[in-house]
């Protein structure tokens, strides 16, 4: 590349008479040898192994070779500034976890800022805590007091760039910056790009499976944030590496050499990541007339209440979810609401809903669960089953009923201490039977010794669903995994399952693929749960509702297609690039 002028070189020769050494009278013979060896050791690279790995609990995190390699290269060969660009699903978060753990061990991480898309922030926090024992505060935590009050922070990038926090974020000198989904800073004219550009940090790790989103200049922008000057000026990059139709790279070898200094990209085919088959069985049941009546009454109530006061969205959303889970889950919330209620009209409506709860003799899902559990026990050797529900009240009811039928039942919820949680999982592994769990287990605790999972109710956030499945369907699972979804017909569950989750093939997606789809959706300013709720309460008729959900499914499908296309495009661009570690 000859498009720039070379800077000057100044060579200074230190005098040989400096090589005098200190005045040592009659030095022992071996001391010259020691001087030679010391000089050579001073010039050598320190033994740069990842020492903190010995501290990790193998039950919490299973590290794969490509992940350890990536962490090693990022830290020791790239001087702590790296773009981790593995293909989707290879565990980039784990790589960053290892890096942060090692930096923590070496005490080079006095302040760490992790910027993620909003919906992934809590997941990052849970993974770093459970797998690496690293405690971070998240900007969604109640105890978050701003960016100058904590040293280990996970925050949504949009919160960090908001007027409220921006100055505080920029005022600090961060030791480490981690940027998840780094392709969202590809555009140099955005506030996000400006924020990263202005941040001060010593080490930085950017993550993306698709460094190139629209055009090859994206790669220039992302890499230049990490290593300014690596590609020279924008114009030179364009002229030298991109052909005139803007679609392909030229001078690939030179580009590869430069990228190798900052980017690590593992491809699935080069790793030993292998998952067993996942079989999904969705079972829909007709609710009893009493259940149907209750569902209708609650839906009408939620709709009416929301139209009057949108400020109560969260509690109304909760009611709508609880009514399809169990009468117990629902009753507590509705009674609390009744106690808080001052308006007579609503009081009457709530009272009549309570009457409807009392009319329910049999809970349909409860009976059908027994069928599933029995089937599993008959057909699968060591047929341990995990039943997931979102609500504690439902959990209690399900566990009691199963126990009364003579099953060995274990219960798991967020109220247990860490020690208790470990013991519950251990006894589930030893004794077998059924584990009835809330979503408290869906982060961190692994149970790959079990291969049957029942979704008693379904979270409206697809990431949660995948997290549940991820507890048993993960590296180390040797058997086929069975996922049973339970849903009541003609309820929101059926819509979410049929119209949304099945359309995007949710139950076959990996966490990486899902986060890509959802982050893209979030990019357009929408939250998945809100989308579902708004559609539910705003539809004027059954037909409207179906159409609305279909439209949402089309949106999702589009995002999924886009994510797939991008992944393919990036694979194409980097095809033939040997971007892995060299053996020599």
């Amino acid at each position: 590349m000859g498009d720039y002028d070379l800077v000057d070189i100044e060579v200074t020769h230190e005098d040989a008479d400096e090589v005098g050494g200190r005045l040592v009278v009659d030095p022992p013979d071996e001391q010259h040898l020691h001087s030679i060896q010391a000089v050579r050791l001073q010039a050598g690279q320190p033994d740069s192994e990842l020492r903190s790995l010995k501290q990790l609990d193998e039950n919490s995190v299973k590290m794969l070779e490509h992940q350890v390699d990536a962490a090693y290269r990022a830290l020791f060969e790239m001087d702590g500034k790296a773009l981790l660009a593995d293909e989707v699903g290879l565990g980039k978060t784990i790589e960053v976890g290892m890096i942060l753990k090692e930096m923590h061990f070496r005490e080079t991480n006095d302040s760490v800022l992790i910027l993620t898309p909003a919906q992934l922030a809590k997941q990052w926090q849970a993974e770093l805590r459970e797998k690496f024992g690293l405690e971070f505060v998240c900007n969604y935590d109640n105890n978050f007091n701003g960016f100058d009050s904590h040293d280990y922070i996970i925050a949504s990038i949009d919160t960090a760039k908001s007027n409220r926090y921006r100055q505080a974020v920029l005022r600090r000198d961060w030791d480490v910056l981690v940027l998840d989904e780094a392709h969202y800073v590809k555009n140099e004219e955005t506030d996000r790009y400006e924020l990263i550009d202005q941040l001060t940090y010593n080490y930085a790790f950017f993550l993306t499976a698709t460094p190139i989103q629209n055009e090859l200049t994206d790669l220039y922008n992302v890499v230049s944030l990490l290593r300014p000057g690596l590609f020279g000026t924008r114009d030179v990059f364009h002229q030298y590496f991109i052909n005139s139709d803007q679609e392909t790279l030229v001078n690939r070898n030179e580009l590869q050499d430069r990228l190798n200094k900052v980017m690590i990209r593992n491809r699935r085919e080069d790793t030993d990541v292998d998952f067993t088959e996942r079989r999904v069985d969705t079972r829909k049941f007709d609710p009893s007339p009493a259940e149907r009546e209750l569902y209708q009454a609650v839906s009408d109530y939620v709709k009416g209440a929301y139209s009057q006061d949108q400020g109560q969205k969260l509690v109304l959303m909760l009611l709508q979810k609880e009514v399809v889970s169990s009468p117990e889950a629902f009753e507590t919330t509705i009674r609390k609401r009744l106690d808080d209620q001052s308006e007579l009209a609503q009081t009457e409506e709530l009272e009549s809903i309570i009457d409807l709860i009392e009319n329910i003799d049999t809970v349909t899902k409860q009976e059908r669960l027994l069928d599933i559990v029995e089937e599993a026990r008959e057909n699968v050797e060591k047929g341990r089953v995990v039943v997931f529900t979102q609500f504690r009240a439902t959990q209690r009811r399900v566990a009691e009923r199963l126990a009364s039928e003579g099953y060995t039942v274990h219960s798991f919820h967020g109220g247990h201490s860490s020690q208790e949680k470990e013991e519950i999982i251990e006894s589930f592994e030893e004794q077998g039977g059924i584990l009835v769990s809330t979503d408290a287990m869906s982060e961190g605790r692994n149970a790959q010794f079990c291969n049957i999972l029942v979704n008693w109710d379904l979270p409206w956030n697809p990431m949660r669903v995948e997290q549940r499945i991820g507890r048993i369907h993960r590296i180390g699972q040797k058997r086929q995994v069975y996922v049973f979804n339970m849903a009541l017909k003609d309820t929101v569950e059926e819509y979410v399952l049929e119209r949304l989750y099945h359309k995007i093939d949710l139950f076959q997606q990996s966490v990486g693929e899902l986060s890509e789809i959802l982050t893209r959706l979030e990019e357009s300013g929408k939250s998945f749960e809100d989308e579902i709720f708004e559609r539910l309460v705003n539809a004027n008729s059954e037909v409207d509702l179906e159409n609305d959900f279909d439209a949402m499914a089309v949106d999702l499908q589009e995002q999924r297609d886009l994510a797939e296309k991008l992944e393919e495009f990036n694979s194409g661009v980097f095809e033939g690039f040997d971007l892995g570690a060299s053996d020599d």
């Binding site: 013979d29 020691h34 000089v39 033994d47």
Partner: protein, 385 residues
């Protein structure tokens, strides 16, 4: 010239520290991973005297009463600092008994094999092996340090490419016979030989320096481009400001016509301020444009100078190497024919004379291997015909 740096593993750290401290006269009591080191008051060293409790390769944070001993620990760095400049001059003897006979480059990938070698030493020669530290610094990259060895014959000033490698291999061993006070080369001669070595050293390192040089130049260029864009942005801001001021002046011109006395005075005053501001901005814009047309020479100079490379070459140890010179007899066979070649040879240095192809008279080399003995010594080009 050879890269003389060695990887710093935990076991090297422990073994070197123990040997060095003991050579100083320190006491070391080792119990598993815990060392108790006593550095007596009368030992001449910069290391802190007294008792030290060291934890080796620890995965725990030590308490205040312990130091860590691992590749990055400050205790180990102090040991290296203390040892490295303690006795930088010394000598070593390389004899055939210490080293294997070195087969010349042109035989290494040759179909001709060596059936026997005999070396007869005639006389001793001396050379210097110098370890040079080369540091390359620029603002855009971390400082990079290299350690290179080079061997040079004291009489002929000839660079001896294999000798420094032999030296590095020998001195890696704990049992190497090195002496610390037997340096017989005169200081002026040693200094001259060090100076003679600098040029071949730097030319050997040129590829590494070039790479850093290119990177620094690209970084300078990127910074300059950023500066250009910033200036262009400032020009645009000034242009907008000028347009605004001109239109304001236009508006004031009109209003001066139509207003009463007091308002007119106010408007005149405002117009005067605007005109003066306009003049100021126009001057600044003119200056900016002028700088742009000139290509921002001052800024270019400042940025390029700041990104300039600073290469510092420092000799850190000089060892006199006594080696033997004589003849080596190589018994060769290519399957059909045999031959015996007697060549000048030095212990640890290898063959010291060139061998030419009997057919084309081209010298044999790594690239031009000995191919056949059937019609005399034949190189790769001639022996295959």
């Amino acid at each position: 010239m050879t890269d003389a740096a060695v990887p710093v593993t935990q076991s090297t750290v422990e073994s070197f520290t123990a040997r060095y401290l003991r050579s100083l006269g320190c006491q070391i009591d080792i119990r598993d991973n815990e060392w108790q080191v006593t550095i007596p008051e009368d030992v001449e060293t910069d290391l802190p005297k007294g008792q030290h409790n060291l934890l080796c390769d620890t995965v725990k944070d030590p308490d205040e009463t312990h130091d860590i001993l691992n590749p990055e620990s400050s205790f180990f760095q102090s040991v290296l600092d203390d040892a490295s400049d303690r006795v930088p001059l010394g000598s070593i003897k390389v004899s055939t008994t210490d080293t294997d006979i070195l087969v010349p480059d042109w035989l290494q990938e040759s179909p001709v094999s060596v059936s026997d070698i005999n070396f007869t030493p005639y006389y001793d020669r001396s050379a210097l092996v110098i370890l040079f530290q080369v540091s390359v610094e620029t603002v855009s990259e971390y400082q990079q340090e290299f350690l290179r060895s080079i061997g040079i014959d004291t009489r002929s000033n000839e660079i001896l490419p294999n000798l420094d490698e032999t030296f590095l291999t020998l001195t890696q061993s704990e049992a190497a016979t090195v002496t610390s006070d037997d340096f017989t080369v005169e200081p002026e001669q040693a200094e001259r030989l060090v100076d003679v070595s600098r040029e071949p050293l730097l030319s050997d390192m040129q590829p590494q320096i070039d790479e850093i040089h290119q990177e620094a130049s690209r970084a300078a260029d990127a910074e300059l481009e950023e500066y250009r864009q910033l200036q262009r942005q400032r020009e645009e801001e000034f242009e907008t400001k000028i347009t605004r001021l001109r239109s304001k002046i236009g508006e004031l011109n009109e209003s001066i016509e139509n207003r009463n006395q007091t308002e007119r005075v106010e408007a005149l005053k405002e117009r005067r301020e605007c005109k003066s501001k306009l003049e100021e901005v126009e001057t600044e814009l003119k200056a900016l444009r002028h700088h742009r047309e000139q290509g921002y020479p001052d800024q270019q100079h400042e940025i390029r100078e700041r990104h300039g490379l600073e290469v510092v070459v420092t000799p850190v140890t000089v060892t006199e190497v006594e080696y033997e010179r004589g003849d080596a007899e190589f018994e060769l066979t290519d399957g059909n024919s045999t031959a015996s070649l007697t060549l000048g040879y030095g212990s640890g240095v290898g063959v010291t004379e060139e061998v030419d192809c009997d057919t084309c008279n081209q010298p044999l080399s790594r690239e031009n291997q000995l191919r056949s003995l059937t019609n005399g010594i034949q190189c790769g080009s001639c022996g295959s015909q």
